[in-house]
Symmetry: C2
């Protein structure tokens, strides 16, 4: 098991820099922030983009409800203050991952412009690229898909404050990438995202 000889262990004082991390991975850490209604295809696209990036030899990580809601944010509910804190923490963690050199994909409804803008500012003021990807899906299309049966419950009044039904979704006005999901194939959406990263120099360092 042991392959490291003590003579190979060298180190220097001071901190390893972000640039060193980026060079080591030959990519620039950044945040790809997927936003849209429940059922708009955020997680499906984020997974597919992650897969495409791994096939290109890039290193990514996805933050989503599965690994956040039951962990870091398990002590948060669905009040206005808790929803804001939910997105704030995700923004802060996404920034740390980007600083670490990782192409970080977040997949949350994140319905409020103010909260998404806060996440953007956290990254941008620290010199990290933030890419907002708006899954533009008409409500009737998302509701017809209803993959988790949530719209049905919201219409029946079993879920209160559900985005698109009795709570607003504030559509991004300046998203870097807009996916017209009712008209585009998943393959075209993936290519749109990868090409954006490539054209912005994020796939090398």
């Amino acid at each position: 098991m042991s392959e490291i000889k003590a003579t190979n262990i060298t180190w220097h004082e001071g901190e390893v820099s972000r640039d060193e991390r980026f060079k080591h991975l030959n990519q620039k850490g950044c945040v790809m922030w997927f936003t849209g209604l429940s059922g708009s295809g955020k997680s499906t696209l984020a997974c597919a983009v992650e897969s495409a990036l791994v096939n290109l030899g890039k290193h990514c990580y996805r933050l989503d409800g599965d690994n956040i809601r039951h962990g870091l944010n398990k002590n948060l509910g669905f009040s206005a203050a808790d929803r804001e804190e939910n997105i704030r923490r995700i923004g802060e963690v996404a920034k740390l991952f980007a600083d670490a050199g990782i192409i970080t994909l977040t997949s949350f409804i994140s319905p409020y412009t103010k909260d998404r803008d806060l996440a953007r500012q956290l990254c941008e003021k620290d010199g990290l690229k933030f890419i907002e990807i708006y899954m533009n899906t008409p409500l009737d299309v998302a509701e017809a898909r209803d993959p988790k049966g949530l719209y049905k419950k919201a219409r029946a009044g079993e879920i209160k404050g559900f985005t698109g039904i009795d709570d607003p979704y504030e559509a991004p006005e300046k998203a870097e990438i807009v996916c017209m999901t009712a008209e585009m194939s998943l393959d075209d959406e993936v290519k749109l995202c990868i090409n954006y990263l490539d054209e912005n120099g994020l796939l090398s360092a």
Copy 2:
């Protein structure tokens, strides 16, 4: 800038697995949790270990007061509940980094056994290696160093609840690595940490 041809973009459905991430980086994500008094040398050693790992071609990230207290945990104070939540969030984030494949170094006093054990359990129950590194420094040695002048302030009563002065430090009883910092050189401490990772198969995947 654009080097990616659309024909090179391939992807598969489903999630990229932890194993794929580990293989891609040729290492196993894990958490190296440095604990000890203020002035015990946690951050100095964590920086040196990070540097040594980068020289070995490994990918790391350090979580410390600088990038956590002013970001993710900026809405926490120093009450008992807030200190516990501080360490809980750090544990959750460190787990996410380890899951992403990163050798994650955390450098916080983390004085209470209960909180450190919670961080350990978060990792271990998810199949991730948690390595507690106890910087065993006598209080008088740490206080004589006093690199930030904090002991002086605590003795003067200007800081309340300071670990080692008027708040306890609960020493780990089963730390994976113990650094007797008053007797060991920094170089020996670095080698102890790197050899531990190597012998436990964490530097390959």
